[in-house]
Symmetry: C2
Subunit: 181 residues, 2 copies
C-alpha cells in the first residue's frame, strides 16, 4: 500500500527519469504513469513505474522507469486457452538493467533484497546497457533490477494482461492499493 503522496512523489521521480532519458511524454501520459509496489509496500526496493503507450488485442508498448536498484519481482506470463503467454522484449534506453532468467548461474545482485531472495530464483544474469535488448519468450520466469542510477526501459510485447501474471512471491498483488489518508 502507498499513500497518495508517496504515489505522487514516485510518479514525479519517474517523470524525471523519462526526461533524463530524453523521452517525451504528453501531459496526459505523465498523469497516467502507474506506480506498482506489488502490494509489498517497499517501493524503493520492489517496484516499477509503468507508462502504457498502447495495448490492443495484438500488441502492447510500454515505457518502464526504475529507481536506483529498484527490482521488478520474479514472475512469468502464462498462456491461456491455447493462446501463448505474453512475449516481451526489453530495450534499455538509459541507465543499466540486470535481467535474470533461468539458465546458467551467474551472481545475482541481491544486496538489500535479503527479505525477498527466496522468491528471486532465476539466476542467469543478462546485463542491458543503453541500446541493448533481450526478448523473453512466453512462460519464461524473470525478474530485473535497475543499476545504481536507475533505468528507463522500453517494452515491446504482445497484449499485456497484467492480471494474469504469476509471481513467485505469494505475497504479491499486481495492483497497488492507495491509502485514503
Amino acid at each position: 500500500m502507498l499513500t497518495k503522496s508517496q504515489y505522487a512523489e514516485a510518479r514525479k521521480r519517474a517523470i524525471a527519469l523519462y526526461e533524463t532519458a530524453g523521452i517525451i511524454l504528453t501531459k496526459r501520459e505523465k498523469e497516467a504513469i502507474e506506480v506498482a509496489d506489488f502490494g509489498l509496500g517497499d517501493l524503493q526496493k520492489i517496484g516499477l513505474e509503468v507508462l502504457v503507450y498502447m495495448n490492443t488485442s495484438r500488441v502492447c508498448a510500454k515505457e518502464l522507469a526504475m529507481f536506483p536498484e529498484q527490482t521488478c519481482p520474479e514472475h512469468f506470463h502464462p498462456g491461456k486457452g491455447g493462446t501463448p503467454g505474453k512475449e516481451e522484449t526489453f530495450r534499455c534506453r538509459w541507465g543499466r538493467v540486470f535481467l535474470y532468467v533461468p539458465g546458467q548461474r551467474s551472481a545475482p545482485r541481491m544486496g538489500g533484497l535479503e527479505a525477498y531472495a527466496k522468491h528471486l530464483t532465476a539466476t542467469h544474469e543478462i546485463v542491458l546497457e543503453p541500446g541493448e535488448q533481450y526478448t523473453l519468450l512466453p512462460d519464461t520466469l524473470h525478474w530485473f533490477r535497475a543499476g545504481t542510477e536507475g533505468a528507463v526501459v522500453s517494452e515491446f510485447s504482445t497484449t499485456s494482461t497484467d492480471d494474469a501474471d504469476v509471481f513467485t512471491d505469494p505475497r504479491i498483488g499486481r495492483f497497488t492499493k492507495i491509502a485514503e489518508s
Copy 2:
C-alpha cells in the same frame, strides 16, 4: 536504385537523426539501418530509413528516421490466410510527422510531390508532434511525411512482412536496389 555511396550517406544522416532524438543504438544496429527508396530513386523526396529492433512471429518494433519533408509512400498491410494484416502504432519521438489516412479531407502537404500526387490518395491529416502517437488498424491505407526538420518515429506493430505491403503507386518496389558501381 541507389549507389553504394548514396546508401552510406543516407545511413549516416539517419544515424545523426537518431542521435539528435537521443536514441541510443548499438554499432551493429547502426550498420543494419535499411535505406528504402521504394525503387523510385528519388530518396530525398520518397524514402524511409528503418531500423528493425526486433521482429518475431508476433511482435515487431522499429525506429524510423525521415529526412526533412521525406515521404513514405501510400500503402496498406493486407491480411493473409485468415490472419489480419499488420496493425501498427506510430509514435513521434522527434520532429514532426504528417500522417494521412482515409477520412475527412484535410489539406495534404503535397509541395514537391507533384510527380507522386496521383498515388497519394488518402487525405485525412493527422499531425504527430513528439510524444504523440496514432494506431493504424489492418488494411488502412496510409502515407506519411516528415516536417521541415525531419522526424524520428517509433513503430510498435504485429509481425512485419514488408514484402506483403501493397503500394498505391505501381512503380514501387519495397526493396532498394544498390548499384554495383
